[in-house]
């Protein structure tokens, strides 16, 4: 989800027998469940793939602040405002944990920012949809953070130590995000006025399919999965996680008295899971390649923050250097 389409070599997974001794040793460590640490040997492709994946994940956290930041000043109560501020601050923190994890692989944070700003690195498609009403804050917390948790919980066991440790911290903090969103939905959909119920249903209608897209393309079209799964930097297939998300979310929607916008949604007694309609994959490819409703706005906001902040970053560094010099001069 947060790393939806991490481009890999696209080559087929090499068997243990075909590997070089160093690569075989590396793969066997992963198979035994050992963690790979920054200074350990790793194949160049593992490093490159991880930088793309963790970077994409970090960028999603950072860009993900924007749709919710949109509502901080217009939250309906002081309490909701404080909740939302805390959540958005968490997203910033999550981005920072992840950038640090990526930096252990030999890329710098500034380089990653620049690749994001130049469109060379991606972030999750979900953040290119607008947040039009307050109910969207409920739907985002409930569905978007819900989908994020679904993906991040298994990543706590990922093979790269710094990434796994960042995921542990993030998962600990993420549950609050989903619950505060669902709480907003309860207030509006179950306890609210007719207008508020309509808003809640409208938010679900708009966010349902984009949330399903967060898990990435269908397994049949996902060319990058096999190698990532062998390396344990991806723990489940896209469709497995999407199914799990649907199965958990349907009863939650029923509790709220809301209707999931899918005529084909029904319980399948044989497979013991819900059958559901796939999202529009053409829309997904459009959004991820830059043509979603808010892509220009989101990247514009990121670039502006980076450019406008340049003088502050430089001034703080200059000030710290001057202070250090003064201290050195005083002995």
């Amino acid at each position: 989800m947060y790393a939806q389409q991490v481009k890999s070599t696209g080559k087929k997974v090499v068997s243990l027998e075909e590997m070089s001794p160093a690569d075989r040793d590396f793969q066997e460590r992963i198979n035994r469940g050992e963690k790979i640490e920054p200074k350990d040997y790793m194949p160049a492709a593992y490093r490159t793939n991880l930088i793309r994946q963790i970077g994409q994940h970090a960028h999603s956290e950072i860009v993900g602040q924007l749709p919710e930041g949109n509502w901080i000043t217009r939250a309906p109560t002081l309490e909701r405002k404080a909740n939302l501020l805390a959540k958005v601050q968490d997203e910033a923190g999550h981005g920072l944990y992840l950038y640090c994890a990526a930096e252990t692989l030999g890329v710098t944070r500034d380089e990653m920012f620049e690749m994001l700003h130049e469109g060379k690195m991606k972030y999750s498609s979900i953040f290119n949809y607008p947040t039009l009403t307050w109910a969207d804050m409920g739907a985002v917390g409930w569905l978007v953070d819900g989908a994020a948790i679904m993906n991040q919980v298994p990543l706590q066991r990922t093979s790269y130590g710094p990434y796994a440790r960042a995921m542990v911290r993030i998962c600990k903090e993420e549950s609050f995000h989903q619950r505060q969103g669902y709480h907003i939905m309860i207030k509006m959909a179950k306890e609210g006025t007719e207008d508020q119920k309509r808003m809640a249903q409208d938010a679900l209608n708009r966010f349902w399919y984009p949330a399903l897209m967060m898990f990435g393309p269908s397994d049949n079209d996902s060319v990058h999965s096999a190698q990532s799964m062998a390396w344990k930097i991806k723990m489940n297939t896209n469709d497995e996680l999407r199914q799990k998300f649907v199965d958990e979310t349907v009863p939650q929607a029923a509790y709220l008295g809301l209707t999931i916008p899918d005529e084909n949604l029904q319980w399948n007694a044989e497979t013991e899971q819900y059958d559901y309609s796939e999202p529009d994959w053409n829309e997904f490819h459009d959004v991820i390649s830059g043509n979603g409703p808010c892509n220009t706005e989101r990247l514009g906001a990121r670039r502006k923050a980076w450019d406008d902040g340049a003088w502050v970053r430089e001034a703080m560094m200059a000030h710290a250097e001057k202070k250090a010099q003064r201290k050195a001069a005083l002995g």
Partner: protein, 96 residues
């Protein structure tokens, strides 16, 4: 890449509530030690995780190398007599 100078990287150690030692929690960028502590407070203690913060520049940490793993740590693995369970004490002797 821009010419802007990136802030140095700091490693952050936090002491939790219950008298434990400082524990490594992650890293961050900051211009100097004072700034690093301020940032560490925002990034790593949003939920009462700590009562004390240490920061140290990442470049100042000396670390053992993965290839030293054998020589450094293997000598300990065959010295099982360093563990209490190596010694069989009869039940009659009571709790020990």
């Amino acid at each position: 890449m821009s010419n802007s100078k990136e802030w140095p990287l700091w490693e952050v150690f936090i002491r939790g509530q219950h008298g434990m030692s400082h524990r490594h929690v992650g890293s961050l960028h900051a211009t100097d030690a004072e700034h690093a502590i301020k940032n560490a407070r925002d990034v790593y203690t949003r939920r009462n995780e700590g009562v004390s913060i240490w920061v140290v520049q990442a470049k100042d940490i000396a670390a053992s190398s993965p290839s030293d793993k054998g020589p450094l740590f293997e000598p300990a693995s065959d010295k099982i007599y360093r563990h209490p369970t190596f010694y069989d004490i009869p039940d009659e002797a009571g709790n020990m």
